[in-house]
Symmetry: C2
Subunit: 493 residues, 2 copies
């Protein structure tokens, strides 16, 4: 088995990855709060974890990947539930809001070709379990009830010698004074750093359930504590999420799990970094933002053209998940070009043939392929793994053009290179060639194009320039580019 | 507003449809139990309700369409939970089974071009509410606890003068002696027709929740009582489902709702009829079954070719939802042909033009279009509505061919006919033309085909038979059929 190393946010260092049960991995990733259209920054987070999931599967692990849907309890700064606010805004029942944006989220995840999680639990599907965890924390003396709401007692937790602030690196004194979470009920708390785990519903709050303390709803942080451990056990392997969730969300998750069952929920905490735009945080009010749809269509003054979702996915892979990713038109254009180059090389590679028993280039090619996997084993370093794969491109093209000898790659190596390239491109990176989309129509187009290029060849042979001009113009009008090579012509839309 | 009549299973008669709140409709349809791949019979049911949903929207109603996912509690004859059995079979956590088959179900619904429901609640998402309804029924004296399980007291219910058996038409005496539901715990029941609303989990039962009576799980019938009324109110407009759910599922739903809040849940009960194959019930053991995938691919000895999902949808529309639908290869072939004819006519219609102020055919066309809607208003009679629409086909084709005069259809009528045809075809029937699939590739193919047909015309003019033969053969190889007409050539894949 490969030697996988991951950067553990909890330890602030890279560690060798060892699963709790050999060959099996439990991974929990905080999913979206479904009260508005998914943000391109979220897409980046989920694409990052998709690649991590895919690579773990590639390494042969049996992975149970759990990613939740937050459909209740995620409050805004003013104390209003995000879903309820969405419901009021659209004059819909909260669950209609949830359904609409959950459908939209799923569609976007499909567009970015992410694999579906093995379990996608919803917060409202686990109210009973959340009530039980609140009770367990109360029973352990680490939470208290005030006016129907229940708060986690951070001071007591610290006094018991438990580490609050370990993940986010916040200092205890700061926490006791600085926390601004749940400002609305600030006066009910014994200490400013305490946080709500059950919230009494105000009379106008739509989403509400009966609990021993009040008719109310669970705190946002609680759902992940409950759902991760319900489906993965009290302690599991990997917990992931965006950097912005480290505090307070993940910090509180740890406290709740330790408070309820006295054990750390996850062994490895993985956090993805932010997506920037033109070097700054995206912000609608500062006119510095773009939606996924605008990126696809090009319908935004911030970009010069539309980009295929796979070009965007390639663009995301060009940064490491722990680095910020700066979205600029120049960078997108470069990624688009790079992605096409990779797709063309793949197509060329698949058409190559060899009948040689040995190959002088074999060792080099083997080294590149193994190198790409080695980079992925180094904390899922997709930019370096991509760079490795790009070392193959000139070799592939030179071989296809006859610039390097036909016997420089052995039949055996070529066969395994095709297989491994495909595994990395398709299974690990999760890419596909947009030119291969469209099923039946594309097949038909392929065959018709063969016919057209054949007629064009005849016309050229017969010096029938009228026909060959007509074909040139007709194909240009159809948006089709023809590339003439030694072994015939290829084309692309 | 149109005069809509629906067949109400509860009254066994067609009734004028009147929603509870003017202009608004609440509709609940029993969704799938997600423990195996979706059956083509289920597809028919959900396509039927999709058309009903679409037509209600077409009529201008604001519809809240709720369709649940059963992910717990649906027991097999041997008393085992279907999801748990699936989990054991695949060696998965039950929620992984649920996720897998729920994803598969959603994908199939997309393939059949059904609209997503406004809310798709899951049974496990409403355990707390189910426990509360069990308690309400106990409090009303209509349920009793035995060894941790809770049973609905049908005898008491009848004694109070409430109608049990009204929907299914079963006689009380039969019910008291004949019911075979939940055989496993038969000895715990006071009367054979009683049914479990909370079931104590056996030690090996995986899915379990804490309730006042035991650690257990809710009865299958209970979830729909809870979820329909939670999202649509104690009494709502339409409850739908397959015929096979009438008893015991829907009968028990009514009893539970009446038992809990003393009111009927739904005003109109709509039931779809069965899908047969070659005149008999589908059965794997009798070698008389086919899966949706096999229908698409043609990979089954029961059919001579594959059918596009839209041809299958068209096939389903050719039967009324309350009639059985017999799936045979001949019927499918005929539907496939009919569907192509409809698609071609649509394409032709959209290309028609008129500059006439009046039209001798206007009244006839208007009558056909209005007639189609009138048929839909008669209990969603899709076969008759389709037949109406087909009356347009010869008119469209004759007009296109110049067989009827250019001034026989007015400009105004043609414009509204195009719009209304499109609304019925796309919005109500939920069809699309498979030839228009494939996005970019299809666009490119369209343009390249124009080029190819242009070159073919040149070749014919120049008596260049080599080239025209080459084009004929090349297009045949690409699976493309060319149809030459008065105004040029059209083609299809």
């Amino acid at each position: 088995m490969h030697n996988l190393e991951v950067y553990n946010s909890l330890k602030r260092s890279k560690e060798q990855f060892k699963p709790i049960a050999e060959g099996k991995i439990g991974m929990y990733v905080c999913g979206p709060t479904v009260y508005s259209d998914v943000h391109i920054g979220n897409c980046r987070t989920f694409v990052s974890f998709d690649v991590i999931y895919r690579f773990l599967l590639y390494l042969g692990y049996k992975v149970r990947y759990v990613r939740n849907i937050t459909d209740v309890g995620h409050l805004l700064d003013d104390g209003e539930d995000r879903i309820s606010k969405g419901a009021r805004k659209h004059n819909l029942e909260p669950m209609e809001v949830v359904q609409r944006y959950m459908n939209g989220f799923h569609k976007m995840m499909d567009i970015f070709n992410t694999k579906k999680p093995d379990i996608e639990p919803r917060a409202t599907g686990h109210i009973l379990e959340q009530i039980e965890m609140v009770q367990a924390i109360i029973d352990n003396g680490l939470a208290y009830e005030k006016n129907g709401s229940v708060y986690f007692n951070t001071k007591k937790y610290l006094e018991e010698g438990k580490a609050y602030g370990e993940l986010s690196g916040r200092k205890i004194d700061d926490l006791l004074s600085m926390t601004r979470d749940d400002l609305k009920n600030q006066d009910e708390k014994d200490h400013p750093s305490d946080f709500a785990i059950w919230i009494k519903a105000s009379p106008d709050h739509i989403m509400r359930w009966n609990a021993p303390w009040s008719v109310g709803f669970p705190g946002w942080h609680l759902e992940c504590s409950v759902m991760s451990t319900k489906y993965l056990g009290e302690t599991f392997d990997i917990h992931g999420g965006g950097n912005d969730l480290k505090f307070p969300h993940h910090e509180n998750e740890i406290a709740q799990n330790v408070g309820a069952c006295n054990c750390q929920p996850a062994r490895y905490w993985l956090h993805t970094n932010m997506l920037l735009m033109n070097g700054r945080k995206m912000s609608k009010s500062e006119d510095n933002s773009i939606t996924p749809q605008e990126l696809f269509s090009g319908d935004s003054k911030h970009i010069s053209q539309g980009y295929h979702p796979m070009a965007l996915r390639f663009f995301m892979l060009q940064s490491h998940y722990r680095s910020t990713l700066d979205l600029t038109d120049d960078a997108l254009k470069a990624a688009d070009k790079g992605f096409k180059r990779l797709c063309d090389a793949r197509k060329t590679l698949m058409s190559l043939e060899s009948s040689s028993a040995n190959g002088s280039k074999d060792q080099e090619i083997r080294g590149i392929l193994d190198g790409a996997i080695a980079e992925m084993c180094d904390d899922f370093n997709t930019p370096k793994a991509l760079a490795k794969i790009f070392e193959l491109v000139p070799i592939i093209n030179s071989y296809a053009d006859g610039k390097i000898a036909a016997d420089s790659i052995s039949q055996e190596l070529l066969a395994s290179a095709k297989k491994e390239f495909e595994a990395i491109y398709t299974d690990v990176f999760g890419l596909y060639d947009p030119q291969e989309e469209g099923g039946g129509s594309h097949d038909a187009l392929d065959k018709v194009m063969r016919l057209v290029l054949d007629i064009r060849q005849d016309a050229r042979t017969n010096k029938d320039w009228d026909t060959s001009d007509k074909i040139r113009d007709g194909l240009a009008a159809a948006g089709i580019t023809v590339k003439d090579g030694k072994d015939g012509s290829s084309w692309s839309v």
